[in-house]
């Protein structure tokens, strides 16, 4: 995001972050040469046991975001459709499936997995997607089944998921032919916990007016908490990022010049239009200060016991943002509106992601009833640009900002 910004607004840590991600992907791409195993894992899946086992975790969803951001989504989506996959399916899944076959995308395809770890706490899509990859690569698949907590995290869910954590470890032992190191797991757990706390603190800094960064930056800085959670690298990086944010607050550097309006974003980013959207909003002196997406990687931290990570993991991974009832999601949105003092809510109705998008209209109604801040819904898709109508969205954003201006002036 910070590409064309005047030097002083640029977030310095961005370069560091790019370097870390490059190294990470290089490691992953050369895993075979270095006799290391690669596991593909869903974005909401428990990565810590993999880190403890020295397996390199690779995230097809992070890759999907890269594909989207580098505007390679349309082509790969079409290739998947040519293979028979409906254009109505999640575009992360579509691009990943076709990428495996045509070795496309910014990296020329991901390193082949030695195993697949699929946690359905985000959606049912990943279940099908990972079955497809399990057939294609003919590698073992572990499914961590985290039943949705519509209204509660019940004792039977707790038992079921906790048992599966042991099954997960047994699966890793079988497929690495190594014993699981519980002490190392405890250390990794602590690091994961610390990084999540730091990430939460980074996100919290945007409660400051003016905000030192925007949700567009959060979308970018998210990659580490997803991919390198449980490592010292992530902890060090987020500590540095936090310092930089605090520094910016002290010296009064905001991301949006003359920030007047503060908005909350809901759902995944529109990866191929980040820049346009960011400029569009800042042109109205509006900053997207927070979002429901990037906070999902620290939202369940209250259920995590730093000193007993393994046992608390079951609850923390089950009660994440997408795996709860729509009414609870609405409560979290209301909390965020308050915490960040948002003047408006921007909802991305994302054709790709049904569990995120269905229920949004009820959240919209609740937000209107309880806060009377304006809410806008934008129809798009996170990776497939074909359902993005720029002129229509532009008109709607302009009208939305007009309302916000009138209310606040």
């Amino acid at each position: 995001m910070s590409d064309k910004l005047p030097e002083k607004r640029k977030i310095k840590s961005a370069k560091k972050m790019r370097d870390i991600m490059t190294t990470y992907y290089l490691d992953a791409m050369t895993a075979k040469q270095n006799n290391r195993q690669v596991a593909w894992i869903t974005s909401g899946g428990p990565v810590e046991p993999l880190v403890a086992m020295d397996i390199i975790p690779v995230y097809p969803e992070n890759h999907g975001a890269m594909i989207g951001a580098s505007k390679m989504g349309e082509d790969l989506c079409i290739k998947a459709e040519d293979m028979g996959y409906s254009s109505d399916l999640c575009s992360y899944a579509r691009t990943d499936i076709s990428c495996s076959i045509v070795k496309g995308g910014p990296l020329g395809g991901l390193p082949e997995p030695d195993m697949l770890i699929c946690c359905n706490n985000i959606c049912g899509t990943v279940l099908k997607w990972y079955e497809i990859q399990a057939r294609y690569y003919n590698v073992p698949l572990f499914i961590l089944d985290t039943p949705i907590c519509h209204t509660q995290y019940s004792p039977e869910i707790a038992r079921y998921v906790r048992t599966q954590m042991d099954e997960y470890i047994a699966f890793l032992e079988t497929n690495t032919k190594k014993k699981f190191d519980y002490d190392k797991m405890a250390r990794v757990g602590k690091l994961a916990y610390t990084a999540q706390l730091l990430w939460q603190k980074v996100l919290n800094t945007t409660a400051h007016k003016p905000s030192p960064m925007s949700a567009f930056d959060a979308f970018f800085f998210l990659a580490l908490i997803v991919t390198l959670r449980g490592t010292q690298i992530a902890v060090d990086f987020y500590r540095q990022l936090l310092q930089e944010m605090e520094q910016r607050i002290q010296t009064g550097i905001s991301m949006v010049p003359d920030e007047k309006y503060r908005l909350l974003w809901d759902n995944l980013p529109v990866w191929y239009r980040l820049k346009w959207l960011s400029e569009k909003f800042s042109g109205h002196n509006a900053c997207l200060v927070a979002d429901t997406y990037t906070s999902a990687w620290c939202g369940a931290i209250k259920y995590t016991d730093e000193n007993n990570f393994l046992d608390s993991m079951a609850e923390a991974y089950t009660r994440i943002y997408l795996n709860i009832g729509v009414d609870q999601m609405a409560d979290q949105v209301l909390d965020m509106i308050k915490f960040y003092d948002a003047d408006g809510l921007v909802m991305h109705s994302n054709r790709s992601c049904k569990p995120y998008s269905f229920g949004q209209m009820d959240i919209m109604r609740i937000v209107r009833e309880k806060t009377n801040i304006p809410v806008i819904m934008i129809e798009a898709d996170m990776v497939d640009p074909r359902s993005f109508s720029q002129s229509q969205i532009e008109t709607r954003i302009d009208a939305f900002m007009e309302i916000i201006k009138q209310r606040n002036d």
Binding site: R135, H150, P355, S357
Partner: protein, 370 residues
């Protein structure tokens, strides 16, 4: 056949079925998914009724669900919000796909029926821990039903209910087997009415009608004709026109992998000391739905064996538009079937938009090709 006509008439208007049931008096619990434990609902003294969309225009559901949600979920919500399901006393949502998962939330938050339950079934069915969890969830649902019914559900209640549903399932299997042996013995639209009726009508009545139909069909013979044997695969098929159009083109459905078909009724509940364990066992072992996992290849193996067992000339995939679980499986299933030298056809359905003219042409072309 008189008995078949009863089914055909009944499914024309579920509200009439409902009012008869309510007059007994009996409360009605609706559900949308073939994993709903009907035996438990029935044992509690309630009537389990599968919900279908009345296919009315979407107006009120627009306020809750985007247009890229499948027509079943949007349609049933529309029916509920507009009062067409006012006969319901409650609903139960077994965990299935992402769309039904969110429908459950929206339903609960906008709820107007007395009883509501989520039965958050496991998504994977192939482990011991999933088995234990399945049993836990069913026991919990039983307790919720007991509170609603203000009485205990005894093992005798459960076994009686299980027997009833086993009997219905067995008879439906027989009718399907007869159709496969003597294709054309029963009209597709009639078969459709019998299966759909069995999901909405009073199980006692269904249990009386089905064996008579079986006995009659056993007696009839059909002249040997050169028909094309078709197996259908998909989620729901709630349109008798499809069966009729296919027949007109020269094809006969001899088996299906639909959750409004064999996936719903194949497989008996086994004898077990504990009836809940027995119900769980069937749910775990029955023909799998794509929203659940048994192994990466379970569905392909199932469908291939179903097609082979029925000597299918062709397999028609009938997918509901915006239905993710089925759309993900389609390329793989198509490949698996075609590897066996069996031709396939894909039909995408949407309750709100049906184009029967186009459908007829596509069926004709397909039947000629195989």
């Amino acid at each position: 056949m008189k008995e078949i006509n009863i089914f055909c008439d009944a499914i024309k208007d579920v509200s009439i079925i409902a009012s008869k049931i309510k007059a007994r008096p009996k409360k009605i619990i609706g559900y949308l998914c073939s994993y709903a434990p009907e035996e438990l609902i029935y044992a509690a003294g309630f009537h389990p009724m599968r919900l279908f969309s009345s296919k009315s225009e979407i107006m009120m559901a627009e306020q809750h669900l985007q247009a890229y949600c499948c027509s079943l979920v949007r349609g049933v919500l529309e029916d509920s919000l507009s009062g067409r399901l006012s006969f319901l006393d409650g609903t139960v949502f077994p965990h299935t796909c992402d769309s039904i998962q969110r429908l459950s939330d929206i339903w609960r938050m906008n709820g107007k029926y007395e009883f509501f339950a989520d039965v958050v079934l496991p998504a994977k069915l192939n482990t011991q821990s999933a088995r234990t969890y399945m049993t836990d969830v069913l026991n919990k649902f039983k307790q919720a039903l007991e509170i609603a019914a203000e009485r205990k559900i005894t093992n005798t209640d459960l076994w009686e209910s299980i027997k009833k549903f086993n009997f219905i399932r067995k008879n439906l299997s027989k009718i399907y087997a007869l159709q496969s042996q003597k294709p054309g013995i029963i009209k597709g639209a009639d078969l459709f009415a019998i299966v759909k009726g069995s999901m909405v009508m009073d199980p006692d009545e269904v249990g009386q009608l089905l064996p008579v139909i079986v006995a009659n069909l056993e007696k009839i013979d059909v002249p040997k004709k050169n028909v094309k044997r078709i197996v259908v695969s998909g989620s729901i098929c709630d349109s008798p026109d499809i069966y009729t159009a296919l027949e007109a083109a020269g094809g006969i459905i001899v088996g299906d992998d639909l959750c409004t078909g064999q996936r719903w009724f194949e497989g008996e509940i086994p004898d077990d000391e504990n009836p809940i364990n027995a119900i769980a066992a069937r749910l775990l072992d029955r023909m799998i739905c794509p929203a659940k996992h048994a192994s990466p290849t379970a569905r392909g193996e199932n469908l291939v064996s179903l097609a082979k067992k029925n000597n299918a000339h062709g397999v028609i995939f009938m997918l509901v538009k915006f239905c993710d679980p089925h759309a993900f499986d389609y390329p793989y299933l198509k490949e698996a079937i075609e590897k066996e030298g069996i031709k396939t056809l894909l039909i995408e359905m949407d309750d709100q938009q049906q184009n029967s003219g186009q459908l007829a042409t596509r069926f004709e072309t397909f039947i000629q090709m195989i």
